[in-house]
Symmetry: C2
Subunit: 221 residues, 2 copies
């Protein structure tokens, strides 16, 4: 079993639960980082001291306070860590259950497991730890189908960008201007209209307002 684990989690009650779980399954050394930056520094230092962590369990979102953080989220942290230290296993433990985000974390950042906090969160976390220890990836049932594609048929970054700008108050004409200025294609007003129309149908939205409300609720933007 792992012997040295870092838990990056800012809420102490959740950390308490994770901590007991880890000690229960025999992890000797469990450390907590309340800020994502602290986690990063601890990981570096541990490597420098030649006593590296074998596993990082991290939340995705951290409450803001006065301290300015270099890593704004667990996502950024995970990405950086995996790039620099691909050997360090990472389990993301979060309430977030958006498939899109899970997909990015697994496919692009190559984290080793994704566990949804929830009623059975700790139980699943324990499973995840075992799987990861055996070099397998693990996904909570709720997001298990995140990796099977064909889901929510292809909303790409271009779509997201339009929706974002729309929710920022730009008119379709202004979005067209903006795309032209930033060399994003296609960028004619007509294309923007067409794409929005496709999205409206896809999300069964009555109009652009409805559409933006829906995708905001889904967490796509």
């Amino acid at each position: 079993m792992f012997t040295k684990v870092l838990v990056s989690e800012d809420m102490d009650d959740i950390h308490k639960g994770v901590y007991t779980l880890l000690t229960d399954i025999g992890v000797l050394e469990v450390q907590q980082a309340q800020y994502s930056d602290d986690a990063y520094l601890k990981i570096r230092k541990a490597i420098f001291d030649e006593a590296p962590y074998q596993l990082l369990i991290t939340d995705l979102s951290f409450k803001q306070d006065h301290r300015e953080q270099r890593f704004k989220s667990g996502e950024a942290l995970a990405k950086a860590i995996k790039q620099e230290y691909p050997n360090l296993k990472i389990i993301v433990y979060s309430v977030e259950n958006r498939l899109q985000r899970v997909r990015t974390l697994i496919n692009e950042y190559h984290v080793d497991a994704y566990v949804c906090k929830g009623r059975k969160g700790l139980l699943e976390l324990s499973k995840a730890i075992t799987s990861v220890y055996n070099n397998e990836t693990y996904l909570s049932p709720e997001v298990a189908n995140a990796l099977s594609p064909k889901n929510e048929l292809e909303i790409d970054n271009y779509d997201i960008e339009i929706l974002k700008q729309l929710s920022n108050g730009l008119s379709q004409e202004e979005i067209s201007q903006y795309f032209k200025a930033n060399n994003i294609f296609p960028n004619s007003l007509s294309s923007i209209e067409k794409r929005l129309n496709k999205l409206r149908i896809q999300f069964k939205a009555n109009n652009a307002i409805h559409l933006v409300a829906l995708v905001k609720d889904l967490g796509l933007i």
Copy 2:
């Protein structure tokens, strides 16, 4: 100190933190309910058995699963409980930090304390318990100013209703129809337009889409 406390919280790790806190400060009997409906039933049963709880600590949002719940949220639970058993103290313990919701909970549902989950969540929860035990209300610092009015100058329920319907995909004309059908005044298209215009100015929104996006981010709808 309280002797019998019910914690309505579906995540077992958070519950673990709260549980240790409660036993640490000397509460003898701590029970957990993972579903809001369970909490309601336990409270009723305890009263029926003449061993009522003195305090309910509840989250606001519960993860959904197959079991259909009568109370969709901690809000509904708190409201019902306080109406039927005003003597039972209630502390809401949630990540949610929208002033509007805190205001409703305190002013309309008369919960006794509102604590934001966060880095210092458990600490604040402990303070809240003491305050509530002394018949005082308690608010986390983050939401302390929720009760001072003059905030976000007068967005009333009528405004909220318009914004909600708008985000539901109704056109302004349809909202007018809807208001007429439900005897909400004013309900002419012109009045709706005017009110939306006021809101747009107030929130510095470029258009209706922008407006809805902004108020959704603020958690007003």
